[in-house]
């Protein structure tokens, strides 16, 4: 790991919006920064509807189509850590420990078209983790309705006598498996706005500087001086992140949990390496081979650093 700075990476939060946060990370290796980005997009557990049991669907939309729409609805997942992954749970299909149940029941009785929104989804699991005093805001599995009217997302439209009645089972999962579990929308990521490292090559007709728009992050770094010699040893050091939440988690939760997941993954690797080392050491001892210290690899050609 990069140890260019003794204090570790330095974070500057530039702007916090309603759903997004914009921050700069300094003194970090590119590989780590990208891992961080990847983890935030793909590996933070959230809650999303995974199973739909349709009791009645006389709407114009097909069952699987509605199920797909339901799956993409962001559900409040701040307390998702209290749930188990179904694969780790000892239940058969799903239970209260690994899932949240939601109900949707709508029937149009008027001549006007009825719109079914996400706010019509009712969480039916009585969970010990939910804090009912707190305006239902943090209730696990509550659909996010961030629009002005608080209706949420339109699921389906019903005409007179059409009915939609179904039970949804929301499960914990990560976006690597399905995009519906992704807590993020677009994830901005940039480094080296002046292209001093010459990682890329701007195509131009006459003058690259004229033709290419300046990145907003240019203000945060020194522009290259004229006739500055190219430092071929330089490495990217400063990264500009924009994290936008899709709704299920607050943006700061995404960042914090991203760090957490990444740490756990690394810890997992270190642990496995240790195990590997111990076993190989044992086998080495068994074969009367010269023992090596921890951290060194049994195969000298393969360098972990």
């Amino acid at each position: 790991m990069n140890r260019s700075s003794e204090q570790g990476p330095e974070v500057t939060i530039r702007r916090v919006g309603r759903e997004d946060v914009d921050f700069v990370v300094k003194d970090m290796d590119l590989a780590l920064a990208n891992s961080f980005r990847r983890v935030m997009i793909g590996e933070i557990p959230t809650l999303a509807i995974d199973l739909v049991e349709i009791e009645i669907n006389t709407s114009v939309l097909a069952d699987e189509f509605i199920a797909h729409r339901l799956g993409l609805i962001p559900l409040e997942s701040t307390l998702v850590d209290n749930l188990l992954f179904t694969r780790d749970c000892d239940c058969d299909q799903y239970c209260d420990k690994c899932s949240v149940e939601l109900m949707l029941s709508a029937r149009c009785t008027t001549d006007a078209t009825m719109d079914v929104y996400t706010r019509d989804l009712m969480v039916t699991t009585v969970s010990q983790y939910n804090n009912y005093d707190n305006n239902n805001n943090n209730n696990l599995g509550q659909p996010i309705c961030n629009d002005q009217e608080g209706k949420g997302i339109l699921i389906c439209k019903l005409r007179k006598h059409q009915e939609l009645r179904l039970k949804c089972v929301a499960k914990k999962g990560i976006a690597k498996e399905h995009a519906k579990w992704s807590p993020t929308a677009a994830m901005g990521f940039e480094y080296d706005p002046w292209n001093k490292l010459r990682h890329t090559d701007y195509w131009y007709e006459e003058d690259a500087n004229e033709e290419w728009p300046k990145s907003a992050n240019c203000d945060w770094e020194e522009p290259p001086r004229e006739n500055e010699p190219f430092d071929y040893n330089a490495k990217p050091n400063q990264y500009y992140f924009t994290v936008e939440s899709a709704g299920s988690l607050k943006q700061h939760d995404i960042v914090m949990r991203g760090i957490d997941v990444l740490q756990k993954k690394l810890a997992g690797i270190i642990f496995e390496l240790k195990v590997l080392d111990e076993t190989s050491e044992k086998s080495r001892l068994d074969t009367e081979f010269q023992g090596t210290a921890y951290g060194q690899t049994p195969n000298p050609e393969y360098n972990w650093n």
Binding site: F65, A179, S182, T200, W203, E211
Partner: protein
């Protein structure tokens, strides 16, 4: 921003309003109705129009037939005249058998869902008279004929969109097709020779017609008022003679032209000479030939009109089936009336036009004029579906009358009581003949085969109808604009007929033709091209022409030196060439100006005098089936209509900029008028290499899009549907005018042009897995399974099967997909072998089920119960509509709108994909190598325009030829990108999703409208390890449906050998095919004689060669152990030298076949 470029709009609110509340007055998109107008208009003309429509003209043309009630020689007996006085077609209604229905109208949607035909009664008014007495009438039902939708015989005619929706149709139902057995069929437009205009032809095949025939000819396709036609050809013989050829009932006849001339009017040689030579008596080429023409005719010794007619009548008596009471002269007259220049009524007119044709033939031979090109639009018109339909009805009515006559004649011959005065006898004759004309038309529409005595003057017998497939709306609408050259030309080896000729500019689209075998033969009409379905009123034209100084047709004038003025093939008079130009100019000015009683669509074809060019003259056309198109007439700045005959001699500027005074008389309204509807939908097609636009026209029709909005009321076998179609950001303005947003055909996708991970090589493309998971390109296929219980019994047998479960015991798991009524549950998931309907079979007393047979998992969408036509029997039919989900998977085909198709080769998750600084990720990645050789710059421009549109929240107009060299598209959209803070050229720096490192160069990324094509791996993949084999050869069967194998053919075998992969070769050709182990006798080498012995108790069966063994002679010597016994108990000794070898089974089969012919095969097996 440059002001010349219009910006398109999404019109979201307007569209939603129209969709929610369909207009109650008129269509929101009138252009669509115009697209099918040729079909509907031509069908309407059958019953509407002057003299009661084409069908009533047709029965008038058929005329009266006569039959006598005696076959004695010398006595005719009573005379019976009969004819059809009138034809009526009603509107579709329920059958008269059904007594209970109150609303008796039948609507097309019912026919689609019930898989029946939309048809109505054809009623003929049969008139007869006995011995020329008073006429009597009877109305005869001639079956039910299929009716064109939205025509004047359809209930949907003039319905508002709101009414259409109320009657379960699309809000913009266009009609123009028929519903036959639930399938939508249309009669396709066919190109035929321009009517009533003699065409000079040089055709080598003419030489083979007989001795001294040359390759010169003049041909005219003469059209009767009822739109049936008769082709007349004049042949030039090498000696200078001219013969007249025609075909009648598929037989060809040749007559000297002078005989026709002399039969037409009372004339003399002088008049004929003058009419052909005119004043050019010094032209010895002409006078020599005329002398010979007239001189050789002398041998017939026919001078008077009556003599000639009698001669003709005598020869054609049998052919025309004339009755004995008609004189030869009258038969001769009928020949002239029915055969010679049938577009003209008057014999004097026919005489003049025939003289003109002879002169044109001589001019062609002398080289004074060039041959006319039959492949050019100038000499073509369109055979419209409705007209063809009318021609067939006419012929069938004629056959019906002939059948009546034949029945009476056979009654007379069989000495049955024939009494014309007795009404009972007449109805008995009706009983015996086939009156069902409707059935024949139904056959015509469902097969496209023309069963005809006369051939209808057409060159093909099949392929007249096509299914109007509703794969998506683009394909559907294209069917109605499709024009075929004729299947006869498809077999021609030469490519001349397929060439794109400049004459078709503005009439046939240069882009929209398929590649492959129908290329150039199957064209599409330009979207502004109109086909006339009725004749224009030209009754004032003769007076106007006279005013303009056109001389009388009787004046002494002939040949190209004078200008012949013709209106629809009738000679109106002669004038000088200078005056002809003036006449043409004035006519055009007057017709555009209006108020001069000249129709705007009159075609004024002025062919100027030239040296060896087209035969000159002023040819006016006013009749139907012509192509015309609107252009702006400059002197008046008003709309004029031009036709393909006049266009080559006109100067029409393409853009206002190129108008040069003194040259151009017209200017195009828009250069896009030359393109078909579909070709206009290709964005920025002017930036693309032209074949790419052709490919897009094909792929637009194969797209999984939106077939329609009334799909619940349809029962098509297969419907493809894209669930998340979008309105394209970049589209031509015509897209909105045609209302194509009601039928979206694709999705706006973020496309990056980059070579990434190698999975986008060779037209493969990478799909964003997360986009796919969010619903990108998601589609469904709807299939309809028909369950018909009446197939379980013979016709007429009582019903023994009833839907539902019986009282007997049946497996409980059937109820998993079936409801208590025995019908499938809506929404049930079906897999192969699941029941889709249960029924109780009375005869067996058992409940049975129909099974779902396809391999693919499906969901039940709809169940429809179908009653029978009369509504009197128990329900025996139902259809089950199944929904098969088709989420995009690896191997599915996608394409942009620029002929850039690709197959999805990999789905990468969002984390692995490249991203821009703002975090945008592509939905689709395509390889940059797809561009240099294909030069689809239009796709780059679309990407740029799409990106600019998305950033600024607006749609962009992509109509071709809107940008110029000075005002480029790249600049227009580049400036918009710049304004939004993006790079002017559409590039962006991107980062690798895997390493986070900035990619070495910037990437072209933008928004392109992507279509998902209907070719999907799920319909195509074929794989097998073991499976069914052919019982005769034991080799795997072929065919995907039967889970067969794919043949390793000879060329594949060659490749295996070439690669030296012997083991693979053996594996494919033997082990995985018909590998068998057989026994062979090592002594005699026979495969066929070794057999298993019948073992003794406690012993094992052995293999012994029956041929090498000898029968045990009772008491004969044998060694214990050598004795064996066959199935009959016969004992044998010997034949123990057998062994087992591996061979392909066909070898054994071959041996058996050879043995049957007495040929023995011997195999030398080693070691012995």
């Amino acid at each position: 921003m440059p002001s010349t470029v219009a910006t398109a709009s999404f019109n979201t609110l307007k569209r939603e309003e129209i969709f929610r509340n369909p207009p109650k007055d008129k269509s929101a998109w009138p252009l669509l109705k115009q697209a099918v107008a040729p079909h509907v208009g031509s069908f309407n003309a059958l019953m509407d129009g002057p003299d009661g429509g084409l069908l009533n003209l047709a029965v008038k043309d058929i005329g009266t037939k006569t039959v006598f009630d005696s076959n004695e020689v010398g006595r005719l007996g009573n005379k019976f005249n009969f004819r059809i006085a009138e034809v009526q077609i009603t509107k579709p209604a329920v059958s008269a058998k059904d007594k209970t229905t109150v609303n008796r109208r039948v609507f097309p949607s019912e026919c689609r869902e019930r898989m029946s035909s939309y048809r109505s009664r054809l009623i003929l008014k049969f008139a007869w008279s006995v011995n020329d007495g008073p006429e009597q009438f009877e109305y005869r039902e001639a079956g039910t004929v299929p009716i064109m939708l939205a025509s004047n015989r359809c209930h949907l005619e003039n319905m508002s969109p709101a009414d259409m929706v109320a009657h379960k149709e699309e809000s913009e139902e266009l009609g123009g097709y028929f519903v036959v057995n639930g399938i939508e069929k249309l009669i396709r437009l066919l190109i035929v020779q321009r009517r009533n205009h003699p065409m000079a032809i040089i055709r080598p095949s003419f030489v083979g017609r007989g001795a001294s025939y040359s390759h010169f000819g003049v041909q005219i396709r003469s059209v009767r008022p009822d739109q049936t036609s008769q082709t007349n050809v004049l042949h030039y013989l090498n000696d200078g003679n001219v013969t007249f050829r025609f075909a009648w009932r598929k037989n060809e006849y040749l007559i000297p032209v002078v005989m026709i001339l002399k039969a037409l009017i009372e004339t003399n040689d002088r008049e004929i000479f003058d009419g052909i030579v005119g004043t050019e008596t010094s032209n010895s080429f002409l006078t020599d030939r005329l002398e010979l023409l007239l001189r050789t005719y002398k041998s017939y010794n026919l001078y008077l009109k009556q003599d000639t007619l009698a001669y003709l009548g005598d020869k054609f008596r049998i052919v025309f089936g004339a009755t004995p009471d008609v004189s030869d002269i009258d038969v001769g007259k009928e020949v002239l009336q029915r055969i010679v220049l049938v577009h003209l009524k008057d014999n004097k007119e026919k005489f003049r036009t025939l003289l003109f044709m002879v002169r044109k033939l001589y001019a062609l031979v002398a080289g004074d004029c060039c041959p006319d090109n039959p492949d050019a639009a100038q000499h073509q018109e369109i055979l419209l579906g409705g007209f063809l339909y009318g021609m067939i009805i006419k012929e069938k009515i004629d056959e019906y009358l002939q059948g009546f006559k034949a029945q009476v004649t056979s009654d007379v011959n069989r000495k049955m009581a024939v009494n014309f005065e007795d009404k009972k006898y007449i109805s008995k004759v009706f009983m015996k003949i086939n009156e069902n004309i409707g059935q024949k038309l139904q056959y015509f529409l469902s097969t496209g085969n023309l069963v005809s005595q006369s051939g209808l003057d057409l060159q093909q017998v099949s392929g007249y109808t096509v299914v109007a497939e509703k794969i998506n709306f683009h394909r559907f609408i294209s069917h109605f604009r499709m024009v075929h050259r004729g299947s006869f030309f498809a077999q021609l080896k030469t490519t001349t007929v397929r060439k794109l000729l400049p004459e078709s500019w503005g009439f046939l689209c240069p882009v929209h033709t398929p590649d492959g075998s129908p290329c150039g033969l199957l064209n599409h009409l330009a979207h502004k091209c109109i086909i006339k379905t009725s004749a224009s009123d030209v009754s004032h034209l003769p007076t106007i022409l006279k005013q303009l100084g056109v001389g009388s047709p009787d004046m002494l004038a002939a040949g190209p030196s004078k200008c012949c003025v013709q209106l629809d093939g009738q000679i109106m008079g002669w004038t000088s060439h200078e005056n002809a130009r003036r006449v043409a100019d004035v006519l055009r000015y007057w017709k555009v100006e209006g108020g001069h009683n000249i129709p705007t669509d009159l075609e004024i074809g002025l062919v100027p005098l030239s040296h060896g060019g087209q035969y000159p003259g002023l040819f006016l056309f006013s009749q139907s089936a012509r192509m015309v198109r609107p252009v702006k007439y400059l002197p008046l700045d008003k709309e004029d209509f031009v036709g393909p005959f006049e266009q080559p001699y006109m100067n029409i500027a393409v853009t206002p900029d190129e108008i040069t005074s003194d040259i151009h008389s017209h200017v195009e309204f828009s250069p896009t008028n030359i393109l078909s509807i579909l070709a206009n939908m290709t964005p920025f097609s002017d930036f693309n290499q032209s074949p790419r636009n052709m490919y897009q026209c094909q792929m637009g029709k194969q797209t999984m899009g939106t077939p329609g909005t009334a799909t619940v009321h349809r029962s098509d076998n297969k419907i493809y549907r894209l669930q998340s179609g979008q309105s394209p950001i970049v589209r031509a303005n015509l897209y909105d005018e045609y209302g194509l947003d009601s039928f979206p055909n694709g999705t706006n996708a973020v496309v990056a042009v980059i070579s990434y991970t190698g999975y986008d090589m060779d037209d493969a493309m990478i799909l964003n897995k997360s986009s796919h998971e969010r619903g990108f390109g998601y589609g469904s296929v709807y299939k309809v399974e028909k369950v018909d219980l009446s197939q379980k019994r013979r016709r007429g047998d009582p019903i023994t099967c009833h839907f539902g479960f019986g009282q007997d015991s049946w497996p409980e798991q059937w109820r998993e997909t079936l409801d208590a009524d025995g019908l499938p549950i809506i929404g049930a998931r079906l897999q192969e072998g699941d029941p889709i309907a249960a029924y109780f079979d009375e005869t067996l007393g058992k409940t049975k089920v129909m099974l779902y047979k396809s391999h693919e998992t499906a969901y039940v969408e709809e169940v429809k119960l179908l009653g029978d036509d009369a509504g009197e029997n128990e329900l025996q039919n139902l259809t089950v509509k199944l929904r098969i989900t088709r989420s995009p998977i690896i191997g599915d085909k996608f394409s942009s709108r620029h002929g850039q198709k690709g197959v999805c080769s990999q789905k990468w998750g969002a984390v692995d994909l490249p991203f821009t600084e703002t975090g945008m990720q592509p939905d689709i990645i395509i390889n940059p190598h797809a561009f240099p050789s294909r030069m689809t710059i239009g796709m780059f421009v679309e990407s740029l325009a799409g990106k600019a549109g998305a950033l600024h929240g607006m749609a962009h107009d992509a109509t071709p030829w809107k940008f110029t060299e000075e005002n480029t598209a790249a600049n227009y959209f580049g400036e918009q990108l710049k304004e939004a803070g993006y790079n002017y050229h559409g590039n962006e720096p991107m980062y690798s999703g895997v390493t986070g490192e900035e990619l070495r160069c910037d990437i072209y990324i933008g928004l392109v409208y992507y279509q998902r094509l209907r070719h999907m791996v799920n319909d195509k993949f074929q794989v097998r390890s073991t499976g069914p084999v052919n019982s005769l050869t034991m080799q795997p069967v072929k065919g995907r449906k039967r889970s067969g194998g794919i043949r390793v053919g000879e060329m594949e075998r060659d490749a295996f050998i070439g690669h030296g992969t012997a083991f693979l070769l053996q594996d494919r050709l033997l082990n995985c095919s018909d590998y068998t182990q057989v026994n062979v006798c090592t002594d005699c080498g026979s495969l066929l004689t070794p057999q298993s012995t019948v073992p003794r108790i406690g012993a094992q069966s052995k293999i012994r060669c029956r041929r090498c063994a000898t029968k045990l002679v009772p008491g004969g010597p044998f060694e214990e152990g050598q004795l064996w016994e066959d199935g009959q108990g016969t004992k044998f000794v010997g034949g123990e030298n057998t062994s087992t070898i591996a061979i392909p089974f066909v070898l054994k089969y071959l041996d058996s076949e050879l043995a049957a012919m007495g040929i023995k095969m011997r195999f030398n097996v080693e070691p012995k």
